[in-house]
């Protein structure tokens, strides 16, 4: 949508890469946590998972 405008930035690669790395890092860790939580839940007794 604003691709043309963004592409015109000086150092556009570095800027977009910085945002991309941050988004990927946060989202990747978030997904990893969610998956690990799911698999661990299977091995833990219900009384030890008490959040709602």
């Amino acid at each position: 949508m604003h691709a043309a405008q963004i592409l015109a930035y000086s150092d556009v690669g570095t800027i977009v890469f910085g945002w991309g790395v941050t988004a990927a890092g946060v989202a990747g860790y978030g997904f990893w946590l969610a998956r690990r939580g799911r698999s661990l839940s299977r091995n833990v007794a219900p009384e030890d998972r008490r959040w709602t």
Partner: protein, 260 residues
Amino acid sequence: MTTLTQTTDDTAPDGGAGAAPRSTGSRATRVLGTVILVTAPIAAYLGLVTSDPDVVQGDAVRLFYVHVPVVSLMYLPVILCTVASIMWLRKRTDGWDALASSSAEVATIFVGLGLVTGALWGEITWGTYWTWDARLTSTALLFLLLLGYLALRRYPAEPAARSKVSAVVGILLVPNAILVHYSVSWWRSLHQDATRGLDTKMEGNQLTTYAVAQGVFVLILVWLSIHAFRVAWLSLQAERGDLDVAIAERMADDDATGGM
């Protein structure tokens, strides 16, 4: 751009009321995750599209909106880890152990992203990705200390001994973070003096964009911290369960051989 909600089957369909969740998600974190999913693209739009370029830095200021929120928030999980480490040494409970371990993990993510975004921003504004000034050097040490902590946490050893060594390392985090924070005033550095929002002179739509980005990263920090804590907690319980099974098996073995 950041996907953080857990969308499916978080609540056990078989149990109804009172059933234990089958994941680390809860109603609060799902609401939080949804809010993040809505606000993060807004922050990205403001930062990458509508924010004005800077008079001196030009478009490089767009990296300010990710770098500054990340590095300003990295201190919170670092402090949390040290506090939890001290509390674990006093109370020796799984809760403090899980809090220490999960905060260190979140802190590693934030410090790591701070280093990466800082290097990228530095390449544009300073003309180099890295230089051995006090702020950068002390931050690199903090990152290494956190990596060491996470490695210790995964070392196969008797749980209490492992937690104890980890706690000692965890206590070192805050002194290192103090070094990072005051490095720019204690030593001469290439890094600018102020990084916190209050000291930074910024206005107009740059300030608005920064405020929104800072808010989004606060939410992200909270979401990650809650889930990381629950995962660490589950991991401790699972390990305990394994240990019980192993001990039971050995006792059964002993009984068996003893009976022969």
